[in-house]
Symmetry: C2
Subunit: 249 residues, 2 copies
Amino acid sequence: MTEPKSDVPAHGPARRRVVPAIALESGLTEQEQARLSAIGRVQRYAKGATILDAEGEPAMLASVLDGFVKLQKTRLDGRRQIVGLLVPGEMIGQVYGARPDFESEAATDVMLRTFDRRRFRTLLDDIPRLEHNVLASLLHEFEAAREWMMLVSGHSVTERFAGFLLLLCRRWPESCCSVSADGRNAMVRLPVSRADLAQYLGTTVESISRAVQQHVRDGVLGMRSASQFEVLDFPELIARSGHEAPPPA
Amino acid sequence: MTEPKSDVPAHGPARRRVVPAIALESGLTEQEQARLSAIGRVQRYAKGATILDAEGEPAMLASVLDGFVKLQKTRLDGRRQIVGLLVPGEMIGQVYGARPDFESEAATDVMLRTFDRRRFRTLLDDIPRLEHNVLASLLHEFEAAREWMMLVSGHSVTERFAGFLLLLCRRWPESCCSVSADGRNAMVRLPVSRADLAQYLGTTVESISRAVQQHVRDGVLGMRSASQFEVLDFPELIARSGHEAPPPA
DNA sequence: CGCCTAATTGACCTCCCTCAACGCGGGTGG
DNA sequence: CCACCCGCGTTGAGGGAGGTCAATTAGGCG
């Protein structure tokens, strides 16, 4: 259960966990689960919808059930800086700190479980195991934040795009499909537009396009459609991302 | 105690907390503190020393007592990418996850309290309050990571350098001194070399130098020595960092 | 006083951001 | 059924920020 044993070689065979399925409920008694459910509501947001405003009171907490959510901050000049992409299992909103911090926006259609922040904290005091689960979720998010940092600080756009594809495979394997036996190639579907991608990677649509075509020309990627790629050479793609290869164990 | 009431207006009067002094011991009983002390050892590392290797077994955990520690990852091309700077109160090493993840290196001379990881986790199960403190420390680190991300993704080098100075004042006020009454100017001491700074900001020593001279020419900064700056115009420096102004409350 | 390292400055060149044009598909209305 | 349009992706030309290499200057220490 902690190792979903996916057949997707999230760059390289079986790296890390794939979809964490960190659930707030795990390990809770029936009664505790009931208390948690009592204050939670499942809500859906359409792609592009703002979930939490940076200014608004952070009265809500939410756990991502499906889809992904971008965390961003608006700069003085109006540009939006993405600081992270939340995948299922991660939490939106400051559980402890009161500061609103970042805006969260639905990057795709998403499904959330929302909680009243005050009530959730009460529960947190009552149920140590819940605090433990929150901590686990937080750690996961933390790790993701560092990965994200490695990604956006990759130097060339080509590098960042390669890194993004790999990140996608590793953290969101459902958008990756049909990997060949030798693990050298796979199909990847980009769930976002070029414009979004440009924003994520801190660049422009034009540069994204050029980076993609570069990879295609070099035979690392094949393109079925604008959002459907075939990875033709995994090792080369990894090399181009500039990151460490996964532990060859 | 949680509000050290520093007279340093960490860019703008009294923003957030200044030095958190998050201690693992806080709120523990005498006996619990004794158990914690029993497995901890105070250790010193000279500037530049490697504390934890990315490859080595993560058998050790540590809490930073003094100085600061850089978290970094080595890229394929040998360049080192800094993903964070740990200040006193924060923890090194994965408390839960087993993955070594990042190398940690002493950015200045540092003093740590180190723990055997296995024993620490045992303690964690026994003392819920300790887990709570770890969580608090982690949250702090998390927040710092996002701030760091905002910093390094600032677009021009000039912007990033301005942001770094402000971050330094906010998170490490001891390196900032003698702020004038109106809060417009202050002395700031850079605790690191240009080479380190370049690494932190993802750029080169030359570009750092040019950025500094730019600020000096424009009258935003004065330079007493290579590592001693006088902030002549705080508001302008903040504006140049490209970040939101601190809440003007 | 001479050495060594850190910091600065200059010249050059690459990458990518900007502005602009163009191709393509999918709708809608005639 | 076809013409048109509009959003999206791609391509091209030009310029600016900054990385790279190299030379010069300023500080610390024997």
